[in-house]
């Protein structure tokens, strides 16, 4: 069912943000979401929706070595699916997923803008594999060039294979 009408995922330098400076998780979310809005990938409603969703259902993950967060929200706020990656200049506390009482100092944010529910299994599984590898996460936070991050994640997430190469 899904395969026939799967739209192309946007993943290029424009959705990769380096040295994001923020005091709070709300500031992080706003910066990353606003960039997606500026690129036309999401609707205006995506920005408040992602902040509200994080309040209700936190997405901080205390992964090995480097904590990450995977903010996401409902499909109706999305124009075109993308994974936005933001490296934070200083760690910002996010509440841990499924746990109201604890936070984790997040250094990398993967903002998921998905346009179909229950989809993208293999992509999400590969993303979780990235989270479960301390070396990979450490490599990512040591990068200072968007193209290096793009190429690295494209390979790890097999984005080119999934999409059948360049457009």
């Amino acid at each position: 069912m899904g395969l026939m009408r799967m739209s192309k995922i946007v993943f290029d330098e424009s959705v990769i943000l380096l040295d994001v400076e923020a005091e709070t998780k709300e500031e992080v979310l706003e910066t990353v979401a606003q960039n997606l809005l500026d690129k036309g990938l999401v609707k205006e409603s995506f920005v408040p929706a992602i902040i509200d969703r994080e309040k209700e259902f936190a997405t901080g993950l205390p992964t090995a070595g480097v904590s990450v967060a995977i903010p996401h929200t409902d499909v109706e706020h999305v124009n075109q699916k993308t994974i936005s990656v933001a490296l934070l200049k200083e760690p910002v506390d996010f509440v841990i997923m499924g746990d109201d009482s604890q936070t984790t100092p997040v250094q990398i944010v993967f903002m998921l803008a998905m346009d179909e529910s229950h989809s993208q299994l293999s992509l999400l599984q590969k993303l979780m594999q990235v989270f479960q590898n301390e070396e990979t996460l450490k490599y990512l936070i040591s990068q200072h060039k968007k193209t290096a991050i793009k190429n690295f994640l494209e390979e790890k997430l097999e984005l080119l294979a999934l999409e059948g190469g360049e457009k």
Binding site: P62, I70, G98, H118, L124, Q125, M128
Partner: protein, 94 residues
């Protein structure tokens, strides 16, 4: 052994429940357990209060349910995932 109805839930029903759903599916297959997986948003859980046998979720749950609830955050971080799998398997075998 009756086929168990297992709810797999996250906040949006989009991302994390998809991954957890697939992991449980695989685990059940490996153990030859026939299971009925239902992937939903956490807000929809009460709709299944009478029919579900187990809830596996990455979202917080404050409500009380008449079935066990297992936190599945470990499927995403990989840390402690074997314990979580064992918990789920124990419930499925009941």
């Amino acid at each position: 052994m009756a086929k168990k109805n297992v709810l797999v839930a996250c906040g949006a029903g989009i991302a994390t429940s998809t991954v957890v759903n697939s992991a449980i599916e695989e685990m059940a297959k490996e153990n030859n357990i026939d299971v009925n997986l239902i992937q939903i948003k956490i807000a929809e859980v009460s709709r299944y209060a009478d029919t579900a046998d187990l809830l596996v979720t990455t979202a917080k749950t404050t409500k009380e349910f008449p079935f066990p609830v297992i936190n599945a955050q470990t499927f995403l971080t990989g840390i402690g995932v074997e314990d979580t799998k064992k918990q789920i398997l124990d419930e499925l075998k009941k």
